[in-house]
Point group: C2
Chain length 409, copies 2
Amino acid sequence: MKVAVMGCGTVGSGAVEILESKGELLSARCGEPVELKYILDIRDLSSRPYGKKVVKDIDLILEDPEVGVVVETMGGIEPAFTFCMKCLNAGKSVVTSNKEMVAVKADDLFEAARANNVSFAFEAAVCGGIPVIRTMFTDLGANRLTGFDGIMNGTTNFILTKMIKEKMSFDSALKLAQELGYAEKDPTADVEGLDACRKTAILASIVLGTHVRPEEIPTEGISRITLEDASYASDAGAEIKLICKAEKLPDGKVYAAVSPAFVSRNTMIANVSGVNNAVALRGDSVGEVFLYGPGAGKEATASAVISDVLECIRLKKNQEHYYFAPHRDGLLCGKGENITSLYVRGYAKHMETAAREIRETFESVRFLSRDNSPANELAFITGKGREKDLYEAVAGIRDFASASVIRVL
Amino acid sequence: MKVAVMGCGTVGSGAVEILESKGELLSARCGEPVELKYILDIRDLSSRPYGKKVVKDIDLILEDPEVGVVVETMGGIEPAFTFCMKCLNAGKSVVTSNKEMVAVKADDLFEAARANNVSFAFEAAVCGGIPVIRTMFTDLGANRLTGFDGIMNGTTNFILTKMIKEKMSFDSALKLAQELGYAEKDPTADVEGLDACRKTAILASIVLGTHVRPEEIPTEGISRITLEDASYASDAGAEIKLICKAEKLPDGKVYAAVSPAFVSRNTMIANVSGVNNAVALRGDSVGEVFLYGPGAGKEATASAVISDVLECIRLKKNQEHYYFAPHRDGLLCGKGENITSLYVRGYAKHMETAAREIRETFESVRFLSRDNSPANELAFITGKGREKDLYEAVAGIRDFASASVIRVL
């Protein structure tokens, strides 16, 4: 079967290189020849080794009956979405690494794939080389999925790792991440959690079985985290991580959120450092399965893209179980309705009064300490409760002004 | 499609319970009704809720054209192997959790599955609920697999965790494991690494693409590990783990082994504690992917069994890429040809002379210490070298008698 790649950037060129260099291996694994035929890109790539395959007109791909699978690695919603729809409607399976498009447009793409009895697959859209999507759809197929906790943005995890392990400030850590190529010049999408939010929306959709949109997921980035918070986390035996979370609640609704969280050092997920990603998936039969590895990078992400290509070639039909239903409103739990503990840092007018008041307010409370804290600083972790109630209780402490509130996983 | 389960022990009854309780969910996930029709067991199970489905004659299953998938959860090689071959030759896909049978008889089973264009699948045979087999065959399909390190026996990991974290002796930890039901009355298969060896043989076969038999894999258990070694491991910043390993060498041969090893606490695999399992899989494109979770247990293992059943029903044909070639001799590297470091503990006639000799013998060496060690005890970690050469070098230290030698991962 012939393959086309749309968008020859980082991930696309990685996919091209695997297709070009491992033809024999890939062919053996699908029981038929696998060959890259076209690369669609508007740039001049004629000097590249595969330059002769570059085309600028998508119709060449759409009209070529030899092409059975099209890889979309352009990124962004348009024109990627229009191109993918055209490919599906031309009877070609589509494999994408484009989380933004999947998070926003999955419904239309699934429908077109079904209608044309071809596949639409997106393993590479979440956590790069880690096989999280197919694990949820296939390997945990005997389970009712109940939720996940993930670290799905390498840039923010790198910054938080530097802040906690090396006491680097947020600004210095961000600058270093930019120097190393881990963060973009405009780091907003990573730092404010938007990238993590899209991935959370995709995985939450699989848990729920129904499309969850990014704008439905309360999202908070890491730019407010201070070195003071990092010190208190250490005292609590915890790391601070940007956690992507979804959880099925007893009433069937799903709680989904992206936010910084204190994570106990005894857990696997706390040990995820640097630019790696990880997801702890939960199912009613299996319990918890934890997947960890490279969440980005040219070759690792291309590995996921090409594994999807191979499945599409092997199956030659719609993968009916690789699917979630179209979006409906009202399936997520309301903001603040989740049960959690909170870490709170703030300043007291009178330390003893405030501490007594805090102890009286929460059923259980653990005070934290750090070196060289100002005389009027107080930090503590509350017992579990409805998040909304905990926030109200914190605001109600008369003698105390909170400066930082972070969830505890 | 109708399903039969052969062997209603721990895992088998788990599979039965999922089939009985989640019929609607499973049917939705394969696009057709999925129903348990027969349970083959020689015991009297008539009082169980599914008692009416129990049969004692395999021919009922073989001759029923409605049965498309048979689950084998009997364990042991015979009669399981004969039964599985009969099922495959009757045109039924077979799903098994039986690592012993797969490790020894995979060649015949794959051949029969191919000849009859049905599936033979064994996700549950290695690491229980962790989806390691399908990840290697499918999700890492774009990769040349280069090796793995795994903790694939929960019993020994529980014992080692107790020895290191709680300074419990091997005998006490084994006794506790038996009391908790983690270890058999006769713990040999776990403690001496035989169970881990079978699983290593299966995964090494997938890495190599050719069947590796258990008897080809040098295997060492944990019964020689002492509390002294555990103390020195702590000083080295390491845990001691029973490591299942395979690695493709530059000459194309594979090094495979099961043995205790020092594992740096900075690695994910060192953090695997208690009865959990984990595998770090390596591929040439993805780098390393680490999978962690329940390696045994009724429901987790049944989750893997049923995910295989669903794939068989969805595909209705042989899964050609889910395969390794028949056994050939001479594909593994010779014993001791691998490159490693060694931890060595022993007794010196004259401490200073021995220490000097050790320093002169190895290019780099790190001496370890522990509290309350006898005056003539010495422990150290060598630099890297060919294992065979390192062992010879240790034996050649005149002033020193080694009491314990453990690989360093």
